[in-house]
Structures are given as C-alpha cells and as structure tokens.
C-alpha cells in the first residue's frame, strides 16, 4: 500500500503575530514545528503501513528549512521524504498549494491513500487537503476520526460530525484529512532519529514537476486577503427547561412567539 502524507511546517506558537501591512504571518523569531494535525496523519499512515505493509512518503512544500519537519517524520518511521522548494512556489494560496502538491503526488506515481491533517494551525483554512483531492480527481473524506477498515480497493472511515459520526465507504485511491481522535502520534525512536539525520530528503523544484507555471506560487493564487480578524464567539444555544415534555413544548412555543418567530 502506497501512502502519501502531506506535511506542513508551522510556527510553534499558536500566538502568531500578523503583519498588518501585508496581512501575512510574521515568522521571524518563531521556532517551527510540524503542524500537530499532520502528526496525526503521519501516525495513521504508519499504522496502516505497519499492519498492511507498503511505504509512507511524506511531502512538504515550503522553504529549505521545512526539511527539518520532514526529518521528524523520518524519525517516526516514514520511508521517504520529499520537499517541494522553489522560489516559484512562494506566495501560494490554498489553490496553488494544493495544485503543486497534487502535481508532486502524480510525479510519485502510484498511490493508494493520501492523508492530511484536518487543517494547519497557522492558516486554519482546512482547504488544502480537499483541494489536492480535487486536482487529483479522487474522492476525499474530511475530519476522519477512525479508519475502520482498509483493503486494496476500499477504505471505510468514520467522519466526525457535530452530532456524532458518519461511516463512509470510499473507493481507493482517496484522500482523507484526520482529526485528533485518530490517536496519539508515536514518539520517535533513537534508532529512527539517527537514521533520519543521515537520510536524504529529496528536493523537487518547479522544474521537476510537470506543472503549469502560471498555476504555481503567487501567479496561481487568486486569493486576496482583505482583512484578518478573530471571529466573534458564537453564543451557546438556549436550553428550554420544563418538568415535562408537555411543559417544555409550551415554554418553547412561548419563547418562539416572544421572539416573533411564530
């Protein structure tokens, strides 16, 4: 089974500062980590590989420093790591990023399952995973909390919803994005870390991909950030009290009338 994990290097702190002029993140002086949700994706991939065999390839797009994030995944046991790094990729929005990552996956050749974290903790868009799936023209399932079963042709997963979960059966190849409930990521091992230090992280530039250059980086990014702000916190719902179902219904009716909704 060929498993691909998409990994992003993000600033360590969740307390990120924003450059008000460009509306982009200030990265100077902030140490970097692997996006925590991507660690769940790596863990899920390693578990599938450990059980069913195959290879785990981690791909990241970013500056040369992002190699450190990929080495972390190698220390955990990933088989191969590829860094997409080129000035031509810079300034990419989620559309151009997902296009570039999809092109890299196509260049890899055969794959069965692509796994991503549900979102990155810096941008928080949750768009790249589904975007990659669309570029690859494969099915995708977001917010996966459990892989129930995987065979050569199918995968059955649980998708978290606000009320509970959906059970979804998908054909392969497919893409899933995973949430924390998938399980704690493993710790690296000393042998794995030593191996990762020596391992080669392959770097692909724009020239290595058979990509349309106009769809890469800034030129392939139609997104315009108008303003960045903290959203207002949604107030919690109101629970209608009452001693019996009948009374609760009466109280609800009264509230609806009071609000001129009925």
């Amino acid at each position: 089974m060929n498993l691909v994990v998409l990994v992003k290097q993000v600033p360590e702190t969740t307390d990120v500062r924003i450059d008000r002029k460009t509306n982009t993140l200030i990265r100077e002086g902030v140490s970097s980590i692997v996006n925590p949700f991507d660690m769940y994706a790596v863990e899920q991939a390693l578990q599938i590989r450990d059980e069913h065999g195959g290879r785990v390839t981690c791909i990241s797009m970013g500056p040369p420093q992002a190699e450190a994030a990929l080495r972390e995944t190698l220390a955990l046991g990933a088989d191969e790591a590829i860094l997409l790094s080129d000035k031509a990729f810079a300034g990419a929005d989620t559309l151009a990023t997902s296009y570039t990552l999809a092109e890299a996956i196509l260049k890899l050749g055969e794959f069965d399952l692509v796994i991503c974290g549900k979102q990155a903790i810096d941008g928080d868009t949750a768009q790249v995973g589904p975007g990659v799936a669309e570029h690859l023209d494969i099915p995708h399932v977001t917010y996966v909390s459990k892989v129930e079963e995987i065979s050569n042709r199918h995968i059955r997963v649980r998708r978290m919803t606000e009320e509970g979960y959906d059970v979804i059966l998908s054909s392969l190849p497919a893409l899933i994005t995973v949430v924390r409930e998938i399980g704690e990521p493993r710790m690296p091992s000393i042998k794995g870390t030593l191996r990762a230090r020596k391992a080669q992280v392959i770097t692909w530039t724009a020239g290595d991909l058979e990509a349309d250059e106009l769809m890469l980086g800034l030129s392939g990014s139609p997104t315009q950030v108008a303003r960045i702000f903290s959203p207002e916190i949604r107030p919690g719902g109101e629970i209608i009290e009452g001693d019996s179902a009948h009374e609760k219904a009466r109280n609800l009716l009264a509230r609806l009338k009071e609000s001129h909704l009925l």
């Binding site: 710790m187 091992s189 000393i190 042998k191 030593l194 230090r197």
Partner: protein, 385 residues
C-alpha cells in the same frame, strides 16, 4: 555548563526529555495516587529504544554505557522518579548478565532487555539483609542439573512486572559472602512467586514486592558466574548502577528547581515577584549550584566507568551520596519556596520531596556510602605512608 555530549548522546537526552515532558509529566500525579505500574509509559520508553542505550550493539543495543543510561534516568526523573526507577531497575537486573553472563546467557536475555520487551530486576535485599548484604538467608542447593531455591527477597523493584530476575542466594549461610551465588530466574518458574506489593512514601509508580522461592528449581545453565561469586557479582553490579541512582537524584532535584524557579518568577507577594526577594533568590542560587556540582560528579563517574577504569567504588559512592543529599535538600527548599501551595498535592513539588528520600536509602544507604568512601580514604593514606 557544557558537557560536550556527542551527537548520539544529545539525541538520547533530547528524546528522553521530550518523552518526560509530553508523556510522563502529565500523568505523574495520577500514577503517584493510584500506585499502578505505568506499563503504557514503559512501552513508550521501549519503542523509543531507551532500554537499548547501554546495551552493546551485538545484542540489539545502541552500544552506549553507563553515561547514556544516566542521561535517560536524569531526564525521566525530572518528570517522575517512579517511572525513572522502573526503567533504571531493568538495567540493574541487566548489567550483571552483561558483565558476568556466558555468551549463551547474554544471547538469551540481553536482546529482550535491550528492546524493553522484557523488564529485568535485581534481587539482593532480604528482611534481615539490608546494609548487611552478606547476611542473606535465601538458600540454593544443588540437585543434579538444577539448583533448588528457598527463601524470601524483599523490596524488589520491578517485582511481579519484570520477566528476568538476577537473584543472589547462598549455598551455605555459614560461609557469609563467600557462599553467595547469583542466578537468573525467569518469571513463571515453578516455585517462584510474588508476595505483597509495598505501599511506599514516594516513587509510587514503581512496583516494589517480595519474591518468594519455595523449592524453586532453577536449571544449572542459569547460574551466573561461578558458585560463591554472588557477593562480587552484587558489588560490581552496584558499582556500575550507583551513578544511575545519582542521576535519578540529579533529575529529581532539577525538576524541583525548574518548578520552584518558575513559581518564584510568577508568584507575587508584597507587590513583587517573590524571586526578586533576596531570601528566595539565594535559595535558588544554592539549589542550582548544588545540582550542577552533583551533575558534574555523576557524569564524571559515569565516564570513568565507561572508559574501563577499574577502581570506581569510591567515586561511585561519592556521586550517589552527594547527589542524593542534594536532591533531598533541593526538593525540601522547593516545597519551602512554594509555601503552602508546595505542601498541597495539587502541586508537583511535594511528590518530588517524597521521591527524593529514597535516593538516600536504596542501592546502599548514604551511611554505607560514607563508610565506603571513608575506608577508601584511610586505605589511600596508609598506602602513602
């Protein structure tokens, strides 16, 4: 301070610290309360190769030594000394096999000890043989192709949880140390059972039990070294593992200092952070200095042992004595800096104080360490005459 660690040692230290911080620290209070053996944490240590650091590569280890083992113990102890001692006790059981075992014995036991798939333990202490280790009463009688063991061992770390036990018994109690003989006894051997699990003041995540031998038949191929060499096996083993206890003490002390310094820089009284008061500042200074001195002593002894230096008894005793006294003092001071909060179980320092106490007691009380050091000093003086 810079101890000029190699790249591999840095990796070992960083990974141990990461596991301590992310996996052990959040659960330390829980295991202290429940006194449950932390198998899931032990599995994490095993999967991360930490049990392999001191084992030669030919047995699946990483080829390090006492120094690497000390690095791990120190980092784990910063988060929980109970988990750290469960880890360290496996080395206490493993070292005698590595040092005195036959090639066949090493092939049989070391790979599983290195992978952490099996824990080891070391059994010397008995109800009437603590500091007076030569006074053990557990007997071993040769009977054809096996030995028959009878008696009770007390306060054995990893008792019941470990699979491999190095047990010191006597062929003849009248002979004292010269009758003592070491055996490797596997869990599940008929006639080998576990007695009560102790309820302890500290290191409560660790398992401490009696080992009970009732006509327990141990095959002759499990004899470790030769008949009558058990006392030597025990003493040489303890020389090698004493720096581990000392490293545990350094780790506990460092953990307590970290918490105290953090608290002193946030707690405000009389309109100032309490760390700005000289009374507290000087306490922190003494704590930090004593810890660094203890660490230097521990690392140095570990290097001596790993470099093959034969006469390490005095130095190992010094490291254990000094570091454990520092741990006791520093953890007491940490509780003092926390004031009333420090006395409460909601804060981590009272546990560290309870944990620190054992480091002055086990693997030779500090009174015994002083006797070892003192007699060595006298011997050196006589030699100079």
């Amino acid at each position: 301070m810079n101890y000029f660690l190699t790249e591999e040692q840095e990796i070992i230290k960083e990974l141990s610290a990461k596991i301590a911080e992310e996996k052990i620290a959040p659960r330390a209070a829980e295991f202290d309360e429940s006194e449950e053996f932390p198998w899931n944490l032990i599995r994490i240590l095993a999967d991360s190769d930490l049990f392999a650091v001191w084992v030669p590569e030919e047995y699946g280890g990483l080829g390090g030594g006492v120094f690497e083992q000390c690095l791990v113990v120190e980092e784990l102890s910063r988060a929980c000394a109970g988990v750290a001692v469960s880890y360290a006790a496996s080395a206490l059981g493993g070292f005698p096999i590595l040092m005195f075992g036959t090639g066949e014995q090493k092939q049989r036991f070391m790979p599983e000890i290195a992978s952490g798939s099996k824990l080891a333990a070391f059994a010397l202490t008995e109800p009437d043989a603590g500091s007076d280790a030569g006074n053990i009463r557990t007997t071993a009688i040769r009977d054809g192709d096996h030995y028959v063991l009878n008696g009770t061992k007390q306060w054995i770390t990893n008792g019941g949880e470990a699979d491999v036990y190095v047990v010191i018994a006597t062929l003849d109690p009248e002979k004292g140390p010269r009758g003592m003989t070491a055996f490797i006894v596997e869990k599940g051997t008929s006639g080998f059972d576990f007695g009560k699990k102790e309820k302890k003041m500290g290191i409560r995540a660790s398992a401490t039990t009696e080992l009970i031998f009732k006509d327990c038949k141990v095959p002759v191929e499990n004899l470790l070294d030769k008949e009558g060499k058990g006392f030597l096996v025990a003493m040489r083993t303890l020389d090698k593992t004493r720096p581990g206890v000392a490293a545990q003490a350094v780790g506990i002390a460092q953990g307590a200092l970290d918490k105290a310094a953090e608290y002193a820089s946030t707690r405000v009284q009389f309109g100032k952070r309490i760390g700005e008061f000289q009374a507290i500042e000087h306490m922190l200074a003494d704590m930090a200095t004593q810890i660094e001195a203890a660490r230097s002593l521990v690392y140095n002894v570990a290097w001596m042992i790993d470099s093959g230096e034969r006469h390490v008894t005095k130095a190992a005793a010094m490291a254990k004595l000094f570091a454990s006294d520092v741990a006791m003092k520093v953890t007491c001071d940490a509780v003092q800096i926390f004031g009333g909060y420090g006395y409460m179980r909601d804060y981590p320092v009272e546990k560290m104080m309870r944990d620190a106490k054992i480091t002055q007691i086990y693997e030779g009380t500090n009174q015994i360490q002083r006797s070892i050091i003192g007699s060595a000093v006298i011997k050196e003086a006589l030699r100079r005459k």
